[in-house]
Symmetry: C2
Subunit: 366 residues, 2 copies
Amino acid sequence: MSHQPHERVDIALGERSYPILIGPHLLEDDELLSEHIAARNLLIVTNETIAPLYLRPLQTALKQQRTAAVVLPDGEQYKTLDTLSRIFDALVSERMNRDAAVVALGGGVIGDMAGFAAACYQRGIDYIQVPTTLLAQVDSSVGGKTAVNHPSAKNMIGAFHQPRCVIADTATLHTLPEREFAAGIAEIVKYGLIYDPAFFVWLEEHAEALLKRLDSAVIYAVRRSCEIKAEVVGIDEREHGLRAILNLGHTFGHAIETASGYGNWLHGEAVAAGMVMAADLSERLGWLPGADKQRAIALLKRFNLPVDPPRIGAERARELMGLDKKVLDGKLRLVLLRSLGKADVVSDYSGEAFAATMRTHFDTAA
Amino acid sequence: MSHQPHERVDIALGERSYPILIGPHLLEDDELLSEHIAARNLLIVTNETIAPLYLRPLQTALKQQRTAAVVLPDGEQYKTLDTLSRIFDALVSERMNRDAAVVALGGGVIGDMAGFAAACYQRGIDYIQVPTTLLAQVDSSVGGKTAVNHPSAKNMIGAFHQPRCVIADTATLHTLPEREFAAGIAEIVKYGLIYDPAFFVWLEEHAEALLKRLDSAVIYAVRRSCEIKAEVVGIDEREHGLRAILNLGHTFGHAIETASGYGNWLHGEAVAAGMVMAADLSERLGWLPGADKQRAIALLKRFNLPVDPPRIGAERARELMGLDKKVLDGKLRLVLLRSLGKADVVSDYSGEAFAATMRTHFDTAA
């Protein structure tokens, strides 16, 4: 297949600038791929779920290049140094040199691992993302973050490494299970909440079309999400300030994910519940009107997302949040909402309000 | 101890600039350390050989900071992803955050692993080098290269990550075994050969003082080596062109090291024999006068360095060189000598001359 219609977002990062191409059936578009993938030797990294669906079509479309593939087990629990070493083994045994590139075909876990492997192999080779989940398309496409987990902490070991291009094939989303699709929507809602009130309203108005996965709605939501993330990251590539607002709901979310064991709560689900907690704390601090918190909750619910965390206990959650990467100098910084569409990173909030939010959401109801 | 006299080389890399401090007993100099190490939380990475000698003195001198230590087994064979994960375990269990730093106390293996761990932990924290071998002081202090080995290929997995400062304590060299000291000299000779004819002559004239490890001679040799490497690397931080001349003897050397099993030939020893091979090929190509090759061999011999590789077989060596990182696009680039003090990276040399050098040095004498 050639010449699929698509939209394009350009990520401006000087000599590391790259395009995100968004549209249906792009991973089968041989002309588009050969236009954007310069390397002649490619290692495709994918997993057991994705390989039967998309590996062959992608390899067929990449017929101009030499491709090899490594198929990893599927799941966040495999996002480890051990699994990473299987990618290195494949790169070495396929005799990939500095001019080779890694292609990440899959969701965020595959993207994180393949990108990190590319960052480290021979101290850095190119990589190309072909995200096949909504979450990966709106989150991992921008920012250059790659990582694996440590047994005690998520994304503890990683690198900043920008892709050469991102091929976001929206047709792949039709095979995505409902829960995973919804988890991607959670991050999309996040972009509206932290940065763009108009986009939040657009989401309220197009919830139906998005739930039906209509091409036009999905393409717009992915594009707008990438644009917002690019704007935030472009201002602050290495996460010193503004970029932290992208972590809305994530600090609470990490506690949820860790307590439940990686993979039992999807990342987006944990973020959804975490965003509600951030909204709750924002309301307690008098920043966010209660009605706006309710609008956020209502929108998340329409997308079938959880708005309440599991009762893991406030004490335990606090402990789990203590090792979180976002702790700077012993102080817990949180992303909170000034209004729908505006977030701030703060650490001088009232500890009492924080404790109340923690108790309300993590402790067993009295 | 405070206020030890020392020399200083400044590595100019914009906002990642850092100083190399060179002199005796610097790792015990509490004032110097607190002046140059900003982080309040430090993980010292060292090995079983170095720890009994220098860990306590260093921790004593760092009494202003919180220090923890991880003691790894000693040897190139432990420069693996598995050992690396022990550093990550220590960083996590000591609750080191983004503001913490890793201190590499040891030789090149420790520096490479500790630096790579720092490059990856939370996607990059600071690190400080305290090199205790001559090789590490003249080689790893400059360039920002960090890595671990893959079972099939050296330094295959790594990152570019600059230290915040380097504390080259020349008193530590007095406990260095003779073979290791000589291996460091090999790299020092290399700097003369590739870049500085006057330094080569200085080495011929001060061989005796260096062999006796006299402070003034050692400090000058370390300083001049760091300066030369800094000049080369400063021009070409990411190894696209000129920097490759630093690999004089290394492509042949890698074959020697790999065939002998990591650690049986010291890196510097393999480089010494490899440099002789490079000189031999340079002579065959009519670039280097035979008398100059003999001067290089004579100088290496004075430092008790091997000038002939083991007879691993030219075919096997060629194969081992085939996966070398320096292969670009299937073509074997080599660093050769135009004269004593001037090197070039070339790939358009005569294949016949190359084969003759390989046969002469790797095949069993007829």
